[in-house]
Symmetry: C2
Subunit: 229 residues, 2 copies
């Protein structure tokens, strides 16, 4: 009877099920610590049958991580409506949802390691970074970024990653605070660059002009002024 | 005669020579692209003799990367004298010297990859991050960092890394500008955190009080005020 149930599942459906089971296990423990036996057992099939759908451990892991990377890149998609600060805040909320759901898998993917540190997964992480970068640029209304803007946006994305990784270690700061802080950090890094570069100053002026008086950037400015006085 | 010259070099001396040759090659091309044959040829010895001193490619690469990591961690050491901004600026200068000297090797080490993405090299990179983190804390005069300060310092270190990696891609922004910008970024990230947290506000107030009127932080503040008006 068991094989009867199995036969009813098509190849693609079974592959998807195994990916889902793997991602579920990676959300609780690092991929390095999850064996094919565990994945087989959680999917209710035999170990050899897993290898029927995925020729090796790496191929199943890469398929799972590809799915996760697509999901993660999708979190950066945001309608082009309303002020930039509010958009970024929603993106950060969805990003931390992902980090929260996929904790150990996210850490392993970003930090590399025996089961995930391959060229293929590095390329996957780079593709997510590139997709997020292009998303942010599109919200700034810019297609060809000058060198300093590219640097600000890409280094901010890396700041977002490292903040999430540090947060996952002990969750010692509420995630809502970090989501808001990272939006502020974006403004702060852009402002530092703008302080010395007229091209960046023009970019910052454009987005600040569209910020409402009760938005995150205005609130930060008010708090910094009160802190300085 | 060739073997006669070789015999005069002791084991440790030969190992050090091979490490130096490997690091020199890694400064021009990624470790992934450098073969043991090339290292042997550049050192003027045979391939089997390289394996006599280092049992495998990975063991030589790890020894070279360990040396580089010690060098890198040393760049963060700075006397506890004078204002913090000036100290950080000197640290950034030495850090970019290292990045400049070791370009492809630095990128490969930080980004992982076939020849360098092992658990051992990941641990090495983490040890440099930890040493830099402790250095910065010691300059702030703090031994036990509250969660938010830990986050600011560690995420700033990751910002320093990613800025250097992006800079290496095309060196499109002068490195002196990035060194100063990263010092400013440290102040900006600390200020963002201080805007919402009294403990961080106290840390920021302490170091700002000791900054001279012509230091990097005062200059940034003046420029930001003029930008906002």
């Amino acid at each position: 009877m068991g094989t009867g149930v199995r036969r009813r599942m098509g190849v693609e459906e079974r592959r998807q099920q195994l990916i889902k089971v793997a991602l579920d296990l990676f959300s609780r423990r690092s991929p390095d610590e999850v064996s094919i036996d565990e994945i087989a057992s959680a999917a209710g099939i035999s170990r050899p049958l897993v290898y029927h759908y995925f020729p090796g451990k790496m191929s199943l892991y890469e398929a799972a991580l590809t799915r996760a990377a697509e999901d993660l890149a999708g979190r950066f998609e945001e309608p082009h409506e309303g002020p930039l600060g509010a958009r970024l805040l929603r993106v950060m909320g969805r990003f931390f949802d992902f980090v929260d759901e996929h904790g150990p898998g996210f850490s392993a993917l970003m930090r590399g390691g025996p089961a995930v540190g391959s060229s293929a997964t590095n390329a996957l992480v780079d593709s997510v970074r590139q997709a997020s970068y292009e998303q942010i640029l599109s919200h700034l209304g810019i297609t060809e970024a000058p060198a300093r803007l590219e640097l600000v946006v890409r280094s901010w994305i890396s700041l977002v990653e490292s903040t999430a990784l540090i947060w996952l270690e002990g969750r010692r700061v509420p995630r809502e605070e970090l989501e808001r802080q990272l939006v502020h950090d974006f403004g702060a890094l852009a402002a530092v660059s703008a302080a010395y570069d007229p091209e960046m100053a023009a970019v910052v002026r454009t987005f600040v002009q569209n910020e409402p008086g009760d938005g995150p950037f205005a609130e930060l400015a008010a708090r910094l002024i009160s802190l300085a006085s």
